[in-house]
């Protein structure tokens, strides 16, 4: 689902996505770029623990608080899904 379809601030979602892909590459020690359509578990092998660490680092870098209570991890299939959720469920921290 695109930012336009969800009524999100597209610039903010892009900022979240950029931060997320950079953090993911570092966390997973990848030399190849991480892209929006990559599947978090099947393709990137992201565990629950790494997933939480990713969110923590995104919070720190963007100075936001993510409403994780609303997050249904099973619906977060791709990097883009997670970026959309974070952009729509966070507030200045």
């Amino acid at each position: 689902m695109t930012a336009q379809e969800t009524g999100l601030d597209g610039d903010f979602r892009q900022q979240v996505l950029d931060t997320m892909t950079t953090v993911l590459a570092r966390l997973l020690d990848r030399t190849e770029p991480v892209t929006e359509d990559m599947r978090l578990m099947e393709e990137l092998g992201l565990s629950s623990t790494f997933g939480l660490e990713l969110l923590l680092q995104v919070e720190d870098q963007l100075m936001i608080l993510i409403d994780v209570e609303q997050m249904d991890a099973d619906q977060m299939k791709t990097v883009g899904d997670l970026a959309t959720f974070v952009a729509g469920h966070s507030q200045p921290g």
Partner: protein, 318 residues
């Protein structure tokens, strides 16, 4: 029908912020932040002056229903997360039985289902007492009916007993619970468990699969216990969780479509994961908060991870 006759819990008043555990446990700043921010673990109980035996005795001391009824206690079960809690030949369970005037009871430890051993102990205690009653003159008259005492709680001696793989921090504490085969107070309606030895591995090769299957597996045994009790989640007043962390239960609630405010999560931030005593501590909290009225059904759930995994759930009527 197996029933909880009385429950007593001891949680130390000394609380240690998890930040102060970072050095001794070798936790990174990120791990500490993760525990606090998402897992909701702020501090854990420690009782540095109390031995393991002292912890268990403090819990038993609060069990008023035991006093004067020691002769009725036929079994003492010690439900444990860790297979070993003291050097041979120290036997904390036997050392606790004597000051409690329970030297006559058959005492043994229930372990190898890690933090799910507490629910297993309730089931074992009830079945032993019921089998005795079927074989002898003991009847459900409430005065002479035999009882079992279930103890749980551990000292956080080693690193393994203090923190579990970015998932939880253990706190010290203990519980004591009297069980009968025919009581009317908190009657056990069903028990379901799934022992998954296939998650065991020396190399951690199955850890990612366990993380993926953790919540669906726990939801599976919770639904199985409800089915066996002839109930649905809509019939459940509260869930008594194991205190692994907040985010796991927040996600369990999304998966089960169960309201978060009906899962007793109060003790996670202040006590951490108190080994097998969580369910008993959360039962006591539910009673103190007035969450359970006579006739209410509630569901206790626990996962024991380490050397495989056990998922367990038990339905009760208050």
């Amino acid at each position: 029908m197996t029933a909880l006759e009385a429950v007593s819990v001891y949680l130390p008043s000394v609380r240690v912020p998890i930040e102060s555990l970072a050095g001794p446990l070798g936790l990174t700043d990120m791990q500490v932040k993760l525990f606090r921010r998402f897992h909701g673990l702020r501090e854990v109980g420690r009782d540095p002056d109390a031995s393991l035996e002292a912890l268990l005795l403090k819990a038993a001391a609060g069990l008023d229903a035991l006093h004067g009824q020691e002769h009725r206690v036929r079994y003492v079960l010690y439900a444990r997360t860790m297979p070993v809690v003291g050097p041979y030949p120290v036997n904390p369970l036997h050392e606790v039985c004597h000051p409690l005037a329970l030297g006559h009871a058959l005492a043994f430890t229930v372990t190898h289902q890690s933090c799910a051993s507490g629910l297993l102990a309730i089931d074992i205690a009830g079945r032993l007492l019921a089998a005795d009653a079927a074989d002898g003159p003991d009847g459900p008259d409430g005065k002479t009916e035999p009882l079992a005492l279930i103890l749980s709680g551990e000292k956080a001696f080693t690193r393994e007993a203090q923190v579990f793989a970015d998932t939880t921090v253990f706190g010290e504490g203990a519980s004591a619970c009297l069980v009968s085969a025919f009581g009317a107070r908190d009657r056990m309606l069903s028990y379901a468990s799934s022992v998954r030895g296939d998650f065991d591995s020396d190399t951690g090769a199955n850890d990612a699969r366990l993380q993926r299957e953790y919540r669906p597996s726990l939801a599976g045994v919770m639904r199985q216990a409800l089915d066996e009790a002839g109930l649905t989640l809509d019939d459940i007043r509260v869930v008594l969780p194991h205190n692994v962390n907040l985010v796991t239960w927040q996600r369990m609630c999304l998966l089960l479509k169960f309201p978060r405010d009906r899962v007793v999560l109060d003790n996670i931030p202040t006590s951490g994961h108190v080994f097998c005593a969580d369910v008993f501590a959360n039962y006591q909290t539910a009673c103190e908060r007035g969450l359970l009225q006579p006739g209410d059904r509630y569901l206790a759930a626990a996962v024991g991870a380490g050397g495989g995994a056990t998922f367990a759930a038990m339905v009760f009527e208050h």
